[in-house]
């Protein structure tokens, strides 16, 4: 891991307060990757960073001038988001006939996108909640950005069912609000369960994210305050706008941090609340994608009517969510080199292993669907799997039936089952470029998985007379592209204005955080409730 100066001079200057040239770390593998010897575990933070270093690294990226790529990147992503917004406006004005839906395939691209985004949104809360309960301290480096990603993904996800209902101005009728028809929503419908599950999930994730950020926002507030006290005439926003940047920061971060003053009596209740939130978010995160899967599993459609759906969907959500976390963090690790001290190869390797494990679970579920189709003796089920999904034309034989969407099915298998297998090799799961490539393929594969489940089951159901192919229209495609733009814009804004790392949690896993001298042989410190140490 090179510790050469960042090419961006401004960043380098801002970060000049860091400890002098870091010595080569002792023990472990040196680059932060996992070692085979359990006593030689790599440190969670490299280069013997001090508490102040952690503060400086994380806050430096917010307080310094943005890197040169940042503004163009936000403008580009924002333009894509705006374009998507224009297509949504067109859809609302004209109607959902502008999508490629038809009488047979009445859920397609948009519900695929919904499940795709909500699945991605599972990694954040998984990392915050489940890894917290499992005392996985390495989560501290990635939980903040993963939680942010979760919220942005849920925002993208919630858009799709919202615009899919046809008369979007009636969306409020999804909720049990008294209305002129004196009728209530159907509480026996999984679609309504979905409304409650997704909105609860979005709200709780937001609360969790915000609560975790309160101390770090207070750190940003105090830094701005200290600078203002030293030099009341600090820089203004622009030369001709006489508003001091630090004054704005003091006000905004000050308001948001609610006057947090790092009191240990406060920390005590904060940790209690955090642990409870982790405890209740764990069943929540498992429930959300289970309920999404009920949308399909409770119907009688062959290919959907399957009991394996809830665990299969949850495993797929974790799989896709971690892939997105890696896809976002690996470039940031390159662009912001000091982040490599916080997100080490050990973190990437751990996430690669999760991708491998959940990829195998998803692969098992794919196989099990075929087994059950055969074992159930249901001819319709067997036909769906063989002739709606699997059979490519070159295997079907001349003039025989084949699955028209075979390419979607095989893209899914290739991306989700085959590509993660490279992580069996240590050298490959330590190579950020390889990890990024696999994460990219997995993201594509998980989109295809939802497309395969939804479209291939629907397009040829019981009656051959109703069979119909689905072809996306420009509106279908552009709204999806737009949602990617929304996601990226929000993440870029987050990376600029909010702490990308849980500063206080990272400090708590440093070896010097232990109140009883330096942590034991593993050099991991004691941690606390949030970091899961004991």
């Amino acid at each position: 891991m090179s510790s050469a100066m960042h090419p961006d001079e401004a960043t380098a200057r801002r970060l000049a307060g860091l400890a002098a040239a870091p010595a080569a770390p002792t023990g472990g593998t040196g680059d932060g990757s996992l070692d085979d010897g359990p006593g030689q575990r790599a440190p969670l933070v490299l280069n013997n960073r001090s508490f102040a270093d952690v503060t400086n690294i994380v806050c430096g990226y917010i307080e310094n001038k943005p890197a040169r790529w940042w503004l163009p990147a936000v403008l580009a992503a924002g333009s894509v988001a705006g374009l998507g917004g224009m297509f949504i406006a067109y859809l609302v004005i004209t109607g959902i006939g502008t999508w490629g839906l038809n009488n047979q395939v009445d859920w397609a691209w948009d519900i695929t996108n919904f499940v795709f985004w909500i699945g991605i949104g599972h990694a954040g809360t998984l990392i915050s909640a489940i890894l917290c309960l499992l005392k996985q301290k390495w989560r501290t480096a990635i939980n903040r950005s993963a939680e942010a990603m979760t919220i942005f993904a849920v925002i993208c996800a919630a858009t799709f069912p919202g615009i899919h209902i046809g008369r979007q101005w009636m969306a409020w009728m999804l909720f049990p609000i008294p209305n002129a028809n004196a009728i209530w929503p159907n509480f026996r419908s999984p679609l309504l369960w979905d409304v409650f599950a997704v909105s609860t999930y979005g709200t709780v994730s937001l609360l969790f994210w915000y609560m975790g950020m309160i101390p770090d926002l207070a750190t940003l507030r105090d830094r701005a305050d200290a600078r203002l006290r030293r030099n009341p005439n600090s820089a203004t926003i622009l030369p001709f706008i006489p508003v001091r940047i630090d004054k704005v920061r003091l006000m905004v971060y000050g308001l948001l941090s609610l006057g947090w003053r790092f009191s240990s009596r406060h920390w005590h209740r904060y940790e209690a609340a955090y642990l409870v939130l982790a405890g209740i978010s764990t069943p929540l995160v498992l429930s959300v994608h289970s309920i999404v899967s009920f949308d399909f599993a409770t119907s009688v459609l062959p290919g959907w009517h399957t009991t394996i759906f809830p665990p299969y969907f949850v495993a797929g959500a974790i799989f896709g969510g971690f892939a997105m976390v890696l896809m976002l963090l690996i470039p940031f690790r390159v662009l912001f080199p000091y982040m490599r001290d916080l997100i080490t190869l050990r973190h990437l390797e751990n996430m690669s292993k999760i991708i491998l494990a959940t990829g195998m679970m998803v692969g098992f579920a794919y196989g099990m669907e075929f087994f059950i189709a055969w074992y159930s003796g249901s001819q319709y089920e067997q036909e769906v799997f063989l002739y709606n999904r699997l059979m490519p034309p070159f295997l079907a034989g001349e003039g025989e039936r084949y699955a028209p969407y075979w390419w979607a099915y095989w893209s899914m298998i290739g991306c989700n089952v085959l590509s993660p297998q490279v992580f069996w090799f240590k050298a490959l799961r330590r190579n950020p470029l390889v990890i990024f490539a696999v994460a990219f393929l997995v993201t594509i594969g998980m989109w295809f998985e939802r497309f395969v489940i939804i479209v291939t089951s629907l397009h040829r159901a019981f009656l051959p007379s109703e069979w119909h192919m689905f072809t996306p229209t420009l509106v279908d495609i552009m709204i999806f592209v737009g949602s990617c733009g929304v996601f990226l814009t929000l993440f870029l804004l987050f990376s600029r204005f909010l702490p990308m790392f849980a500063i206080s949690e990272v400090k708590a896993v440093l070896p010097q955080a232990s109140p009883h001298g330096h942590g034991g042989e593993t050099g991991q410190g004691h941690g606390n409730v949030m970091t899961g140490g004991h």
Partner: protein, 202 residues
């Protein structure tokens, strides 16, 4: 204003009321030992400030376990019950709807939403309860006006004993904090009294 139950009001040399006395510690180990010393000396109105929750500090400070989880459980269960009641009343009583030939008040399909609403109310209680028990938001505090205190959000550890504590005594308290390894021991001034506008018309 820091007023002891004995009625003493401490002031600085300039006559400003004193909020408390603060001491600085460089490492978690130092502040941990100091916390034990302050606890054992019998102080009750004091606090320790650290950039992260130090492992085991509650015991060193003698902080009692918070009742917040009980409150969360109560409100979470209440939310779940109300959620169930809402579905039962809307589907079974107010506008009975025959769906899938099930009895109007069949409870099984109400479970997912009951669960979600329980979680939702518990989550709001967790964060709002934590803030309320901590008396936050409080955007102004005597400590936040001290320049050195701002480093508690970075890498410093501090203990502040309030002048309102019955055992507070400028000399003895200073001695205790210094003996425990504290540096930069200093008095913290109270917030200036807010200037109230006198309005004779009322």
């Amino acid at each position: 204003m820091a007023r002891q139950s004995t009625g003493t009001i401490y002031t600085t040399a300039a006559g400003v009321p004193v909020y408390g006395m603060v001491a600085e510690y460089a490492t978690p180990a130092d502040v941990y030992r100091a916390a034990e010393a302050v606890r054992d000396a019998g102080y009750t109105r004091w606090d320790l400030y650290a950039p992260f929750p130090i492992h085991g500090i509650d015991e060193a400070m003698g902080v009692k376990r918070t009742k917040l989880p009980i409150l969360i459980a109560c409100i979470g269960l209440t939310g779940a019950s109300l959620g169930f009641l809402m579905q039962w009343w809307m589907t079974g009583v107010d506008y009975p709807m025959l769906v899938q030939g099930k009895p109007f008040t069949a409870w099984e399909s109400f479970i997912p939403i009951t669960f979600e609403l329980g979680i939702l109310s518990a989550a709001f209680t967790a964060i709002l309860g934590m803030l309320a028990f901590n008396r936050l938001p409080m955007w102004n505090h005597p400590l936040l006006r001290k320049d050195r205190f701002l480093r508690c959000s970075d890498d410093r550890f501090m203990i502040c004993i309030e002048a309102a504590d019955e055992k507070f005594d400028q000399d003895k308290t200073r001695h205790l904090l210094e003996a425990a390894g504290g540096t930069n021991v200093d008095l913290v001034e109270e917030e200036p009294e807010p200037v109230k506008e006198v309005n004779d018309h009322h």
